[in-house]
Subunit: 220 residues, 2 copies
DNA sequence: CCAAAAGTGTTATGCTTACACCCATGC
DNA sequence: GCATGGGTGTAAGCATAACACTTTTGG
């Protein structure tokens, strides 16, 4: 157990996913300073001494998007000595799932050292700073795995949704198509949905039944 | 992105699993100093500035057990501000799988600040220091998940093993019993084993065919 | 009445489970 | 020759996959 003089720094980086216009997107910020000036990066920040890692991620998200009660999950910790030029920064990566419709971004271009903030399709990312490409790939894989084993998709939908909405969420994340009947059969058999007595304001066609997520699904 | 004056320290803690006498065991060290004097802990150490996290875990393992080429996997990062008294230590937890038969422990009681080192059944742990109980539980769960989805069990066996050896490994880790025929059918259908032309030196009964793990199974 | 999305059931296939007896060897 | 662990197949149940038509609504 030996110590060394120079120190490590710890950040939390958050891959924020949402679905917009039928594609899975991540929120990126464009850096206004070296290193990696003009490159895009996932939002992050230093962990304070008084907060745990989940709290740091939650705080960052709140500071920059005003959102609370967001689904957050720790993915992996990246600590290559060369990942960050000229200092040793270890980052704990998280991903977050948000519903982008009611989102107000609060990035401050002067204090956050960024030029721009925007959503990018995970299938068409610009060049990313640091090892952020790897981090986004880890996060995307984890999201897909989660979707198949847990009930993560609801976090991307409004509280009331149709089965078609849900199926599209799955299709977008898994980047595949699913059989409508099989999907409904399977999802309903999980007993995690509550069928509501309401219908979608038909967006010009036959109204669809609305469902909500049933909170008593905290197993596994 | 604000910095603060006092700093974080980063350790790597490794939950070292092995199978001995039909039980799943973890290697623990008994602390000889405060905090948590006399309590047992999982081995760990500070991350050097020059090494990445995997390397730090590998080095610690080598320093303390002389083993190289050990299966290591990062599990989770624990960073509660109160997990470590009087300083902020964030730890990246790993687990390792080793074959304990040819193991020579090299802990140095004076420099490592420990009184004792020994194996403990995961089902009967002594009181652990810090949040190490949580870490061992995370590691155990991850090991079980890995076993079902990947081919992890081989790491706990010698290069040549019988199907009964393998089945027992699964049974010990999953803490259950498995049907012999179904287990063989399933494991053979995975095409990850090579049937050798050798037989176990019958430990007093009918010799069993030996198998080895087939390295071309690096998918998923 | 037409276009568009909602909704629904059956069959085939593959995977998982349950289950019991004979075989090869050491002593 | 007997005790011990090694080795093997089949049938039933269950989950998944493939597949096409009718219904409801808005315009």
């Amino acid at each position: 157990m030996q110590r060394e003089t120079k120190t490590h720094e710890i950040t939390v980086d958050v891959v924020i996913f949402t679905i917009q216009k039928g594609t899975l997107k991540v929120l990126l910020v464009q850096r206004s300073k070296e290193p990696f000036v003009n490159k895009w990066a996932i939002p992050g920040g230093f962990v304070r001494l008084s907060e745990n890692l989940d709290e740091a991620a939650k705080r960052l998200l709140y500071e920059k998007s005003n959102l609370k009660d967001v689904y957050l999950e720790q993915i992996y910790t990246f600590g290559d000595p060369l990942r960050y030029p000229n200092s040793r920064v270890i980052t704990v990566a998280y991903f977050a799932l948000i519903r982008s419709e009611n989102l107000v971004l609060k990035f401050d271009k002067s204090t956050d050292n960024i030029k721009d903030v925007s959503w990018h399709s995970v299938y068409n990312l610009p060049p990313l700073a640091f090892d952020h490409k790897t981090i986004v790939e880890y996060a995307s894989k984890r999201l897909r795995d989660d979707l198949e084993h847990h009930a993560t998709a609801f976090q991307l939908l409004p509280p009331k949704f149709t089965l078609t909405d849900l199926q599209q969420t799955y299709e977008i994340i898994l980047n595949t198509t699913l059989d409508k009947r099989n999907f409904r059969k399977k999802i309903l058999s999980l007993n995690i949905l509550t069928e509501l007595d309401e219908y979608s304001k038909s967006r010009s066609k036959r109204p669809a039944k609305l469902y909500s997520f049933n909170e008593k699904s905290l197993e596994e």
